[in-house]
């Protein structure tokens, strides 16, 4: 019975992985084959399909991190901290890719690699917050203290999120707030965001599972050391 449920779980996992890969391949093919070439920027405009999806992953990571942090503070269960840690790492990756792809876009559109546009600045702030969060976590040994401090920082950092989202409305910058797009372009953008969201969810689950296993190994090693020879 146990072996059968294990095999079923493995099969479900394989189907899930295959679905995520298929979604990403569809988004990639659509970005190059379905989406029309933009008139002024040409093929460089296709960066947007990756850039927006990365930015969404960067934001989603911060939201998951803050929610998991709040759940830890209420429940005091390290499982929630593993979700927060996994979200912090993936959010950092999303924010880094947002900055890189944004810089490539800026060079193609405005002929500069970086500009102090408010939304770019707030994306940089988000990236720096993730980096600080990971550094803070790396500097604390006790897992529960690490979880508590990480949770407080994640919640405080989430308070900065409205600035990231509302930046273009609050300040006037050169970043396109809601660029006018062809319906087919919008459909490709949606496919890309969905594909990256699925990839984010999959990596989040895998990384959380890995952190869980790592904690189990640490606990077993500790108990082995304490056992009399």
């Amino acid at each position: 019975m146990h072996a059968r449920s294990g095999s079923l779980r493995r099969r479900c996992r394989s189907i899930g992985h295959a679905a995520v890969v298929a979604m990403l391949l569809v988004a990639l093919a659509a970005a190059f084959l379905v989406a029309p070439t933009e008139r002024t920027m040409g093929d460089a405009q296709r960066i947007v399909y990756l850039h927006v999806a990365d930015a969404w992953v960067g934001l989603a990571g911060a939201l998951v991190m803050a929610a998991a942090g709040a759940a830890y503070l209420v429940r005091r269960n390290l499982r929630w901290d593993h979700w927060a840690q996994a979200a912090a790492e993936l959010g950092w990756l999303g924010a880094t890719l947002t900055l890189v792809t944004g810089s490539l876009w800026a060079h193609a559109a405005w002929n500069v690699w970086w500009t102090w546009d408010p939304r770019l600045t707030t994306a940089l702030i988000l990236w720096a917050l993730y980096s600080g969060c990971l550094l803070l976590r790396g500097g604390v040994d006790d897992p529960h203290r690490r979880a508590r401090l990480g949770a407080v920082l994640a919640i405080a950092g989430a308070a900065d999120l409205p600035l990231v989202v509302m930046a273009t409305r609050w300040f006037r910058g050169m970043h396109p707030a809601a660029p006018a797009m062809e319906p087919s372009m919008r459909a490709v953008l949606l496919a890309s965001v969905l594909g990256f969201t699925a990839l984010f969810a999959l990596l989040l689950v895998l990384r959380r599972h890995q952190l869980e296993l790592q904690r189990l190994v640490e606990e077993l090693t500790e108990s082995e050391k304490e056992m009399p020879c």
Partner: protein
């Protein structure tokens, strides 16, 4: 009655920190000295036409306050970790809210002292009319002070529990306080020009919102930070 008692206890911690700083002189002299050195360095770069000078002065003043103020913010909890004072503070019959508010008040006093030195110093060294409208400047300075102190007190307590305390606070506080520094710099620039229209109100409100937000977050979450 309860609030009167809390105010009294808050005052004890504030007084304890101020007396300790006056006797040991651990952070404030270094903070003031760094502020003066930074002000001289920045003033040397402000040999510009008056309009250009006004455009950059607000940002440079607030950057100087931020950089030098970091020393006081970092020490406010790091000093408690030394010599086992942290345990003593936790054993105090006061709520964690009172400890946070007392530490916030100490940091507000430290930053006010820094602003009291740096703002006139910038006026003397570079001739920028920072005090052309003193009431507006006072309001922006007070809001900016509370905003930086509120975020700095919470993050100072957070990083005091980490191995790399001294390096972490600037790394965390700078991105977190960017909206406050930007708003303070812009409100200062507009106040110098006497432009008190909608943009000035917008920046001042953003600064006030940041101060209120981080004071509230600090009060709500401080208990989790000082827990052992």
């Amino acid at each position: 009655m309860a609030s009167l008692e809390m105010t009294a206890r808050l005052w004890w911690i504030l007084w304890k920190d101020l007396v300790s700083e006056c006797r040991a002189r651990r952070a404030w002299p270094a903070m003031l000295l760094l502020g003066i050195v930074v002000a001289f360095t920045f003033a040397g770069q402000m040999d510009l036409p008056p309009d250009e000078q006004k455009r950059v002065a607000g940002g440079l003043v607030w950057l100087a306050i931020f950089l030098a103020g970091m020393l006081a913010l970092e020490r406010s909890f790091a000093s408690e970790r030394e010599n086992g004072c942290w345990q003593g503070l936790r054993l105090c019959p006061v709520s964690s809210h009172a400890v946070y508010l007392a530490k916030l008040a100490v940091n507000v006093v430290a930053l006010a002292a820094l602003q009291g030195v740096l703002i006139p110093l910038f006026v003397v060294l570079s001739g920028v009319p920072l005090l052309a409208h003193p009431a507006a400047m006072l309001l922006v300075a007070a809001l900016g002070n509370v905003a930086l102190a509120a975020a700095g007190t919470l993050l100072g307590a957070l990083t005091a529990g980490s191995r790399n305390t001294a390096h972490l606070l600037p790394l965390l506080l700078l991105p977190m306080a960017v909206p406050a520094v930007l708003a303070a710099a812009e409100a200062t620039r507009l106040a110098m020009d006497g432009q008190f229209g909608a943009p000035w109100r917008q920046w001042t409100e953003l600064l006030a919102a940041f101060a209120v937000l981080f004071t509230t977050i600090g009060i709500m979450l401080f208990d989790f930070v000082i827990e052992e």
